[in-house]
């Protein structure tokens, strides 16, 4: 591939493994550095969720921060665990002194029904950390009777369809479920050739392999910042069997939602 200036640049190949990478022998120093980085990345895994294993019947998980306004409420939920991890996206470089503003995956438990566990994942889990994240989180849980619900969002541009994505009315919801999930799904299933990546995919893969009933609701949206329209796309879920009992009064939630949005605004502006 040639650029405007005439130099030849190598196009990144899907093969992934570069010839130089393959050929270059790792020096002991390289190895030491890599090991240190790996230690830094993996040692922060921290989850105190073993109490969940005792009587777990239904757990569900929330990845999108969105439903905070509809479901999460400090009166009804208590924090029972946290997964902290460090990667290059974290604001702090220190692995021992984590800033209070650092984001983690927080685990909440419903006070009135301790079998319901909720995970709010507000940090970026890197590709090489996802597997360990799963082992960590699911490793400390009773699998029997476990049911998992995952909520996530992604850009509508990632959605493949016969027509142009510009003409699609976004946001919209699509679902994927594991073989064991027998309940009603509240929206259409995701059609081929569409796929889901990252942590939601990792969790769903884990559930499929280990035969845990799980469903993923993926919201396709055209906004980067959170907005009420996108969050409302998840509203059909509130009618589902599992969420019905947990949802708060919708009228009140709008208020909380507004507050939530203003607090997240500063994070979304790289110029501040």
């Amino acid at each position: 591939m040639a650029t405007f200036f005439g130099e030849v640049v190598v196009a990144p190949s899907r093969a992934g493994l570069d010839e130089e990478e393959e050929a270059r022998e790792e020096t002991p120093e390289d190895r030491e550095i890599r090991r240190e980085i790996e230690k830094k990345r993996y040692r922060r895994g921290l989850f105190g969720g073993d109490q969940a294993g005792e009587q777990g019947k239904y757990f569900f998980w929330i990845f999108a921060a969105f439903l905070s306004s509809f479901i999460l409420d400090s009166v009804c939920w208590e924090v029972v665990g946290v997964v902290k991890l460090w990667n290059e996206w974290c604001r702090t470089s220190s692995t021992t002194n984590v800033l209070p503003t650092d984001s983690f995956c927080l685990f909440y438990r419903l006070i009135s029904d301790p079998t319901v566990l909720l995970c709010q994942c507000s940090c970026y889990v890197a590709e090489d950390q996802q597997f360990q994240w799963l082992e960590k989180v699911f490793g400390s849980m009773q699998k029997k009777g476990l049911q998992v619900t995952i909520l996530s969002t992604c850009p509508v541009a990632d959605y493949k369809t016969q027509e142009s994505t510009l003409t699609l009315a976004s946001p919209f919801l699509k679902a994927l479920k594991t073989k064991e999930f027998q309940d009603q799904v509240c929206c259409p299933l995701l059609e081929q050739p569409n796929i889901v990546r990252d942590l939601p995919a990792a969790v769903l893969s884990y559930c499929q392999v280990w035969q845990i009933p799980a469903v993923l609701y993926q919201c396709y949206t055209d906004v980067i910042k959170l907005d009420t329209v996108t969050i409302e796309a998840f509203k059909p879920l509130l009618s589902s069997e599992l969420l019905k009992s947990l949802a708060k009064d919708a009228s009140e939630s709008t208020k909380v939602l507004k507050k939530f949005l203003t607090s997240s605004e500063t994070h979304n502006n790289i110029y501040i």
Partner: protein, 349 residues
Amino acid sequence: MICFSSEAFSGGSDMAEPAGNKPQLPPSERGQRRHRPLAAARGHGVPALLPFFTPSFPPSLFPSFLPSFLHCLLPSSLPGGMFIPCDRGGGSAAPDFKGFTLLMPAVSVGNVGQLAIDLVISTLDMPKVGYFYTDCLVPMVGNNPYATAEENSTELSINAEVYSLPSKKLVVLQIRSPFIKNKYRPFCETLLSWVKSSNCARVVLLSSSHAYQRDDEQLLGTPLRYLLTPDLEKAVGGRMQELNWKEMEKVAAYPGVSDTDKVLHIPGGGITKLLFTESCSKGIQMAVLLKFCSEGDNIPDAFVLVNYLNEWLQLIKTESNNSTDASSQWKIPSSWRLLFGSGLPPALF
């Protein structure tokens, strides 16, 4: 029931284990408990890059959270990966692959190997028998890529799945996502130890290599090449001669300086070279079939490669040796739709 207050977990101290009420093991013993089965699962003396996560709950509690069958499977699933049969709960034993041929792709330039494997699975209508659960591949999920009707379209598919057809003694591993950086080696090690433990007779790796990096010799004639490990060479070397196939040429290690040192060079081939050289040294019967190609619409390349494979293994019957005849017999999976993205916005025109 044990109740933990939120402070116990969000305090940020290093590995804040719930202290006090449970006996703690000394660190050395703790490490061993968790790591010994991992090292054993690899089947090598190679030390894993562990520890990853130190368990934050006392390991003495660990077994009690898991149903018995999961407990024996889970810890060994950590390094590299493992084969997990689909219907484990149904009481049926793991499928037997003794004497089978394992067909798999290398994630390589143009994804030609993966596309060719898709054609094989789709055409032979191979049933899924399990997953290759691994931490070496980027996670991805989607619905059944080989759906033929509404009913079978909602089966979930993950990044590495195993299909089998006992009537043809064929087992196919499809890989659907790229490797995570620095995870090629553990993947190859685990894969080859699975090949050994599952008693597969031989491995056929479908791959590709950058067309623009061919040398003068490789530019001539067919763009298809093969490689055989010494153990397979003995068995099928003659057949390759009959088919008039071309072996992948070795290239000079120091071009222009010395032409005597020759090395195997597969640019853009991903794990191909690593897997092949490892198989040579481990005495595994492996064949690599590859095509020189460039990134782009690689569907024609996939057809050429799968026809090449078919010349040897005769997976589907062809009346003549004409490759266009054979191409029409391969069934394109439904997931190949929209390979180049969605429709265009009408406002463009």
